[in-house]
């Protein structure tokens, strides 16, 4: 059990098995050890919290809940690093840029996080439509409405079941 003193959440206990090692870190951020915190159970949104920097936490969500099918194409080197031929078999997350207005909330489909066997990698997704900033909620479409869309086609989508 590790305890972190999060600037946001105060003291948080993290069981050893919940620690995710990012051997290459996240692109442009320091730190190699993170944990997924479920601060709002049932919301499908998690905090990827650094174990080394008490102020560093990124909101993440599984993009497959919102984008079906999820455009995903990884380089061979990334597949080798992850140790999986099929990245869909791993846990998959994208970083979320929160905004006061839900219509401004965007996710980064270009650089998803693949977590498998206690290791995580931020990889590049070269699939068409997997852009750096993709709107998560369309303005006219409440997050719990049941509909689907493909990334990049601009139509409303949400399926946060």
């Amino acid at each position: 059990m590790t305890t972190i003193q999060s600037t946001r959440f105060g003291a948080v206990e993290i069981p050893a098995e919940d620690i995710i090692e990012f051997p290459l870190g996240l692109v442009g951020l320091r730190g190699l050890r993170y944990a997924l915190l479920d601060r709002n159970p049932g919301s499908n949104f998690f905090w990827l919290h650094s174990l080394e920097d008490p102020a560093l936490a990124l909101p993440v969500v599984d993009p497959r809940l919102f984008f079906r099918p999820l455009p995903l194409a990884l380089a061979d080197e990334d597949r080798e690093r992850i140790g999986l031929d099929d990245p869909a078999a791993a846990q998959l997350y994208v970083t979320v840029r929160i905004a006061p207005n839900p219509a401004d909330v965007v996710v980064n489909l270009r650089a998803p996080l693949v977590v498998h066997g206690g290791h995580g990698y931020q990889v590049l997704n070269s699939a068409p439509g997997a852009e750096l900033r993709v709107q998560l909620f369309a303005p006219a479409d409440p997050p719990h409405a049941r509909s689907t869309r493909r990334a990049g086609d601009g139509a409303p989508i949400a399926d946060a079941a």
Binding site: V27, L29, L56, I98, V105, N108
Partner: protein, 118 residues
């Protein structure tokens, strides 16, 4: 900065295990082949910069949002307390308390609207 002239097919060795091969030169474009160990990720600069910016923005926007929600919660708590007082109070005192309760929540310092992100 070290500047080298290379022809197609020629290579540059960096350290013990990074090999850069000039594959093709065509007009303004150079194609490079890069062999690097698994622990050394290779990115196009503009993509590396964009993803770095996006990661930092996600962390910063989240910090701002948490401050925003805390501000909203405090504002709502203040509003509820004032409402309760207003119900209990009568006459002039009630009007005074209502004036306080009707003040818009102090949201501007948090840079957020009254809408909670989903």
């Amino acid at each position: 900065m070290l500047i080298l002239t290379r022809r197609p097919g020629e290579r540059v060795v960096i350290g013990e295990d990074v090999l850069v091969t000039v594959m093709e030169v065509s007009g303004q474009t150079v194609r490079l082949g890069i062999a690097a160990p698994q622990g050394l990720p290779v990115y196009r600069e503009e993509i590396w910069l964009a993803v770095t910016e996006e990661n930092r923005a996600a962390a910063e926007a989240a910090a701002a949002a948490v401050r925003c929600w805390q501000g909203l919660r405090r504002a709502r708590t203040r509003g509820r307390a004032a409402d309760l007082l207003a119900r209990l109070a009568t006459g002039v005192a009630a009007r005074l308390v209502r004036v306080v309760a009707d003040r818009p929540p102090a949201l501007r310092p948090f840079g957020c609207s009254a809408q909670r992100p989903s």
